[in-house]
């Protein structure tokens, strides 16, 4: 059983890492977005292995379903040159690799001295409801809507501000053509229609 789980874990994680690499090196941005969807789906698989079904579903619905589609739209609407090199210059590549190497080094330092605080386990478990009685989606929602209601509401405000900003920065105050039914019905023929007798060969001046 554990062997099977291990195999699935490595399958998901290897595909995940390879696709993540492809996101960066693909020449065509549309391909990058597609690779990113692969990353999300495999990430969701990893969450399932960790018994976090809710996070897995959210990752698929929100990220693969909504965010990635939005990206695809944006990418396809921009007039991009697909033939150019994926990386602008050697310099970008070098800086990117250097930053990556430093971050990787950090991770190794942390992992080699894997000293999680001995109190961490108890602290982490303290807000969690008893998982033997509720499913993890219920557990999450219980914490999110009660203990962390403050964060939930603040997140709502953040989204509101983002929306106000999007409207403010893109909305153009122009005169809208509105249909006013009563005005339309109240029009009489004499106001709007004028009969002209036009002679042959001459226009109306």
């Amino acid at each position: 059983m554990t062997l099977a789980v291990d195999a699935v874990f490595y399958l998901f994680s290897i595909v995940c890492v390879v696709s993540a690499l492809m996101v960066v090196v693909s020449r065509n941005p549309v391909h990058s977005v597609l690779w990113m969807i692969t990353v999300f789906i495999n990430g969701a698989g990893l969450f399932v292995l960790l018994n976090a079904e809710f996070l897995a579903m959210v990752l698929v619905i929100v990220y693969a379903g909504a965010v990635a589609i939005l990206f695809t739209f944006v990418v396809m609407m921009l007039d991009l040159d697909f033939t150019g090199p994926a990386l602008r210059s050697k310099q970008t590549l070098l800086v990117g690799l250097a930053v990556g190497a430093v971050l990787l080094g950090d991770l190794f330092v942390m992992l080699s001295e894997w000293s999680v605080s001995p109190k961490a386990e108890a602290l982490r478990a303290s807000p969690t409801p008893d998982l033997s009685t509720v499913s993890n989606t219920v557990a999450l929602s219980r914490i999110l809507y009660t203990d962390y209601i403050f964060l939930f509401q603040t997140a709502g405000l953040i989204l509101l501000v983002a929306m106000v900003g999007a409207v403010l920065l893109t909305f153009r105050r122009q005169r809208h053509q509105r249909q006013d039914v009563s005005v339309q019905l109240a029009r009489s023929k004499s106001e709007t229609l004028k009969m002209n007798r036009v002679e042959n060969g001459k226009g109306i001046s």
Binding site: V116, T146, F150, I158, G165, L168
Partner: protein, 486 residues
């Protein structure tokens, strides 16, 4: 579970106010901007009164399931933030009105930014920190790009947004590391982990990432690159807002996060802040010399001031935190008054922002020139003006904490920095007049300018009172940090 809403009353009131203003702005047809702007001003006033009167100086209340804390430190910072937002809002009305650009969304976004700042300074958990920072930042990104017909303003918005998003990502990564290795994001919990001398490397790495994110938010060197461009590109009233309120909130947050949860690891963060502080002071002093645009100059000046305020946090002592708070209060007065001048600078009705435009101000407006002279001397830190006391208290704290290099570099850079502050005085009094500035018509701006310089001039009379209040605030922070350990 304990959802106590009482400590967060000011925030809730202000947020509800913001929502109401949004609706009013959408439905009022005529002159909605001015109406909403005045209502927002009133809303800030009500919130300020709530912050001041709701609880005594020494009360400490935790609320909202421990995510939120209301203590003297938070109240001190909130008073500064609310006061600066009020003054800036009052000053911006006339500026926008001339260009007919005052939309109802401007005051609404300022209100939400301030709600974010209040959450930041009252945060008692890393998640609340992040929420506050994002609420504030989102509103600020939009404000930077507010004048969307101006290419510079749009550029400022995009630049600020992209770099800000990166900084937030770095900060969030740091927080996730802290959570992973400490098992909690709650401040008291993190301090509890540290109590028995544990020092997991993961927490230290996370701490550095979090500090880098904060350094971006306060625009400390080497995370300052966005500041001059954003300050120059954003409309001037918004620059005035950027220069004061978010800095105060972010520095207060920086102090709380370093001293409260990460207090036991002071040896680890002290060196980081030391470098940030030295670099900010030096760059702020040197890079401002070459500037010709007064808004860019103020950006570099604010980078320098952040360096001095960071000295207080670096010391990490009672005196250090007290010095930082005193510094911030004085910084607020000086900066708001200086921006009152910049907002009044117009030639033929058009706003101007070159330093050389100030030439001959001593002849056209002698009183204003005298007021600006006082402000510039104070920014340079010349006694007996208020700016001197700000620097004095942080330098004393650095010396008491045996950070001699920091104090010496601070003194040297403030001497270098004096050059460009005094150059403004020289331009006003001795340079040949090109086109003179228009007469200052806005009464609000003039009263802020003269009021600010009078406060700076006579500040030493009230210094005792300010220092005592800051002492209370600093004590509240450190006492809370110490209590979490046992």
């Amino acid at each position: 579970m304990d959802i106590n809403l009482v400590p967060a009353t000011p925030e809730i009131v202000l947020a509800v106010f913001g929502l109401a203003l949004l609706v009013i702005g959408a439905f009022v047809r005529k002159d909605a901007g001015a109406l909403v702007s005045r209502l927002a001003f009133a809303g800030f006033g009500v919130t300020l009164a709530l912050v001041c009167l709701m609880a005594g100086w020494t009360t400490v209340q935790e609320g909202l399931n421990g995510l939120f804390i209301d203590d003297a430190f938070a109240r001190f910072a909130k008073i500064l933030v609310l006061a600066s937002a009020m003054i800036v809002l009052a000053m911006s009305e006339s500026w926008f009105r001339r260009d007919d650009a005052l939309q109802a969304e401007f005051p609404v976004l300022v209100v939400f930014a301030v709600v974010g700042m209040m959450v930041m300074v009252s945060a008692n958990d890393l998640m609340a920190v992040y929420m506050g920072v994002e609420l504030q930042s989102f509103a600020l990104y939009i404000l930077a790009a507010y004048q969307r017909t101006s290419a510079k303003s749009t550029e400022a918005g995009v630049k600020y947004f992209i770099l800000g998003a990166l900084a937030s990502a770095v900060m969030l990564y740091g927080m996730s590391l802290v959570y992973g290795f400490a098992g909690t994001t709650h401040f008291a919990g993190i301090a509890h982990v540290a109590a028995d001398g544990a020092r997991p490397v993961g927490i230290v790495v996370g701490l550095v990432f979090v500090a880098a994110g904060f350094a971006f938010k306060v625009s400390a060197v080497p995370f300052h690159m966005w500041a001059p461009d954003v300050y120059e590109g954003a409309p001037t009233p918004i620059t005035a807002f950027f220069a004061v309120a978010p800095k105060i909130a972010a520095l207060a947050l920086f102090a709380r996060v370093m001293v409260d949860p990460f207090g036991p690891w002071i040896k680890d963060w002290q060196q980081v802040l030391l470098v940030l502080s030295i670099l900010s002071m030096s760059l702020g002093a040197v890079a401002a010399i070459a500037q010709t645009n007064i808004k860019r100059l103020m950006a570099y000046s604010s980078i320098g001031h952040v360096g001095y305020a960071l000295i207080g946090i670096t010391a990490g002592t009672h005196d250090g935190i007290r010095g930082m708070l005193v510094y911030l209060a004085i910084y607020l007065v000086m900066n708001v008054a200086t921006f009152a001048l910049i907002l009044s600078m117009r030639q033929g009705g058009q706003p101007v922002e070159r330093l050389s435009d100030l030439a001959g101000l001593s002849r056209t407006a002698p009183w204003a020139a005298a007021a600006v002279t006082v402000l510039m001397f104070s920014m340079a830190g010349i006694p007996p003006l208020a700016g001197f006391f700000g620097k004095f208290y942080v330098f004393m704290a650095a010396i008491d904490a045996k950070l001699y290099t920091l104090a010496i570099i601070g003194v040297v850079t403030s001497v270098i920095g004096a050059f460009y502050y005094l150059r403004i005085v020289k331009i006003m009094y001795f340079d040949e007049v090109g086109t003179p500035l228009d007469e200052f018509t806005s009464r609000v701006n003039s009263s802020v300018l003269f009021g600010g310089s009078a406060l700076v001039l006579l500040g030493f009379l009230g210094m005792d009172w300010l220092v005592t209040s800051a002492q209370f605030a600093g004590d509240a922070l450190l006492k809370h940090a110490a209590a979490a350990l046992f």
